[in-house]
């Protein structure tokens, strides 16, 4: 018998270290405009979530929230590779997934604060960010469920001949739930135009994913079961995620069916606001913090000759935008009480009787 904690203490599991070479994709075929766009997005995601964290500390954000600090390169890379009419299915750790599609910061932050000017008027909260007009068809908080729903959107696109591709993000923990396997088989059977993106940050909540998964690569090692290629990418290098995204999305758009991409990454913080993440080996945390998606990308842009002042300007513009969004979110009205009773049904109301 082997039990997860029979051969080591909690938190003393094997360390997984990031790559050390940050220059590998300096020569990647990514146009500089695209790279500058990705850099701006990375900054937006980072600065936005730092601000969100500050607002927790000020007790302005209630409930729970899950930050993707350190994981931004996946959202930024995929966001840059998607067409405007493509569809995103995000997770409850979905701030970056949402911002990646161009959703403005004010309504997202206001939603975290439970304000009327929130993205969903305060009725969804941090874990359910949705903006249909930006192709963000929802952020889902029940592990695995949204893979099946994303299939439906892909099926609909296939049926309607719209050419849309669906991108569905999920975490490493999701690979051990039934819906993941149902969804992958389903997508493969019908060759749906969909890309499944596993953000493998090495931890399923407070537990090392390796301790409770039968295979070393929780997503990629399962791909073969559904006739898919195993794809593992560096989730902290936005050029690598961008190229992987472009390739998988192109395959889906061609009608060649789904892809499963496992992107290795790491969260800088804990699972959720209450979690300091102490179950992680300190050397592992430090190594991954040093392999930071934003530092990697900025370093690359500087090596490619982009003026520091131009990058600083981007940083400053984003900082101003985050400040403005903060002001606008805090100034937002509380949702009108009657809104608690609207939009259950398509008629706009919530009546269950005549």
């Amino acid at each position: 018998m082997r039990l997860p904690l029979s051969d080591h203490e909690y938190g003393a599991h094997g360390v997984v270290l990031p790559p050390t070479d940050q220059t590998r994709h300096d020569d990647a075929p990514v146009p500089i405009e695209t790279r500058l766009g990705i850099y701006r997005k990375l900054q937006e995601m980072r600065q936005f979530e730092k601000r969100a964290y500050d607002l927790f500390m000020r007790q302005l954000v209630k409930g729970t929230s899950h930050l993707s600090l350190g994981m931004e390169a996946i959202s930024a890379g995929f966001g840059a590779a998607m067409h405007q009419h493509d569809l995103t299915f995000a997770t409850y750790r979905g701030h970056a997934h949402t911002l990646a599609r161009g959703v403005p910061m004010t309504p997202v932050l206001a939603e975290l604060l439970g304000r009327a000017n929130g993205l969903m008027g305060g009725k969804g909260g941090s874990m359910h960010l949705t903006s249909v007009e930006h192709g963000v068809l929802g952020s889902y908080a029940i592990i695995g469920a949204h893979l099946t729903i994303a299939n439906g959107a892909a099926w609909s696109a296939q049926y309607r001949g719209s050419g849309q591709v669906t991108v569905c993000f999920f975490g490493d923990g999701t690979t051990n739930i039934g819906a993941f396997h149902e969804a992958l088989n389903y997508a493969a059977v019908y060759k749906l135009p969909i890309v499944f993106v596993c953000e493998n940050n090495l931890y399923m909540e407070y537990t090392s994913i390796a301790d409770i998964t039968a295979v070393p690569h929780p997503a990629a090692d399962r791909a073969a079961a559904y006739g898919l290629e195993p794809v593992i990418v560096d989730g902290n290098d936005a050029d690598e995620t961008y190229l992987a995204a472009a390739s998988a999305i192109e395959r889906a758009r061609r009608g060649d069916g789904p892809s499963l991409v496992e992107a290795l990454t790491y969260r800088h913080g804990g699972h959720s606001r209450a979690d300091p993440g102490k179950y992680r080996p300190q050397d592992e945390v430090e190594a991954w913090k040093a392999y930071d998606p934003i530092a990697i990308y900025r370093g690359r842009l500087e090596r490619l000759g982009v003026d520091r002042a131009e990058l600083d300007l981007i940083d400053k513009e984003v900082a101003e935008a985050v400040d403005l969004a903060t002001d606008e979110a805090i100034a937002g009205e509380l949702p009108p009480p009657e809104s608690a009773f609207t939009d259950l049904w398509a008629d706009g109301g919530s009546s269950w009787r005549n």
């Binding site: 993205l119 249909v132 729903i149 099926w155 609909s156 039934g178």
Partner: protein, 325 residues
């Protein structure tokens, strides 16, 4: 006018809507080539082809997730969950996703889908293939819940369900699939949220649903022979609930009985009894009484299943006794 079985009426209702609207598609286990394990989708593949009528794996979550995602993006899917007992393996998609997403997104998405399912007992299938679970759905805000009791209602309510912009759980009763009834020719479209008085009466209101409609009507025949005129209401729709028809009947008769296939605790009649107690108290001339399956799983043996499902005899006896006390 044609005489159709309840099972044929299901296929006719779906076909009527698929002919009208190309956004309507049908998915489920064995629904295409085999025409459904209960033969409720016979002929759909032939008429509409494999692009619109699709066999799926035994993956209930994948089926309902696909239906939801498609509904969010412009289609109007009809998905089948073969036995309503299997809702237990995909209830997450129904309860957490389908029912809530419109509300959570502040109305950004609309989810016009129908989940049809074989529900209820009387076929000796035992405890995992006989449950009447429409009351589970009734307890979840955001789901519309309908249970037809005649072939004509199957067609009309299916059409109404498909045309509804809200998710509808369409509970077909397995015990009624072989039932025959007159169905008018041409397009039939009924209305969700409407109960029907199947038999007028003055002395007692008997609410019924699905399988128990016929049983309540048989009981009313027995009661009439004993001088009691029972009014039988086919509730048809649990959400929205036609409280107007129900409470008007109670106002008329002063007595309320429910005949429910759900196990006792929190069957659909419990909610209606509570509404009647609050809103029709001064119309009541005696206690409200619920006639339900006892609070047990359904046994498989025919003798035991017959004993525990509410029968016409038990309904008649209960009503008569109550009116005489």
């Amino acid at each position: 006018m044609a005489e159709l079985t309840y099972r044929d009426a299901v296929a006719r209702g779906i076909a009527q809507e698929m002919r009208r609207d190309e956004r309507v598609v049908m998915i489920g286990e064995d629904v295409a080539g085999a025409g459904g394990v209960f033969k409720t989708t016979v002929g759909l593949l032939d008429e509409f082809g494999p692009r619109r009528v699709i066999d799926t794996p035994i993956s209930e979550q994948a089926i309902l997730g696909a239906a939801m995602g498609a509904a969010m993006t412009g289609l109007r899917p009809v998905a089948e969950i073969m036995f309503s007992d299997f809702f237990a393996v995909c209830w997450d998609i129904v309860v957490n996703e389908i029912a809530k997403t419109r509300y959570m997104t502040g109305g950004q998405v609309t989810i016009p889908l129908v989940i049809k399912t074989g529900n209820g007992g009387s076929l000796r299938f035992g405890a995992q293939h006989s449950q009447a679970v429409e009351n589970w759905a009734m307890a979840v805000p955001g789901l519309k819940v309908v249970t037809p009791s005649t072939p004509r209602d199957v067609v009309g309510l299916m059409a109404a369900a498909v045309r509804s912009d809200d998710p509808v759980l369409f509970f077909e009763h397995k015990g009624l699939y072989a039932m025959k009834g007159e169905v008018p020719d041409g397009e039939i479209v009924d209305e969700l949220g409407t109960a029907v008085v199947r038999r007028p009466g003055t002395d007692a209101t008997i609410l019924s649903l699905g399988l128990t409609v016929k049983r309540a009507l048989d009981a009313a025949d027995q009661l009439a022979e004993r001088g009691i005129q029972a009014e039988v209401v086919d509730v048809r729709s649990l959400v929205p609930l036609d409280t107007r028809t129900i409470l008007a009947s109670v106002a008329k008769t002063g007595r309320l009985f429910t005949v429910e296939e759900n196990p006792r605790l929190l069957g659909w009649g419990a909610e209606i009894a509570s509404i009647a107690a609050e809103e029709a108290f001064w119309d009541l001339d005696g206690p409200i009484q619920r006639i339900t399956t006892p609070h047990i799983p359904l046994p498989a043996a025919d003798s035991l299943e017959d004993l525990v499902l509410p029968s016409a005899d038990v309904v008649a006896t209960t009503v008569e006794k109550a009116l005489q006390s």
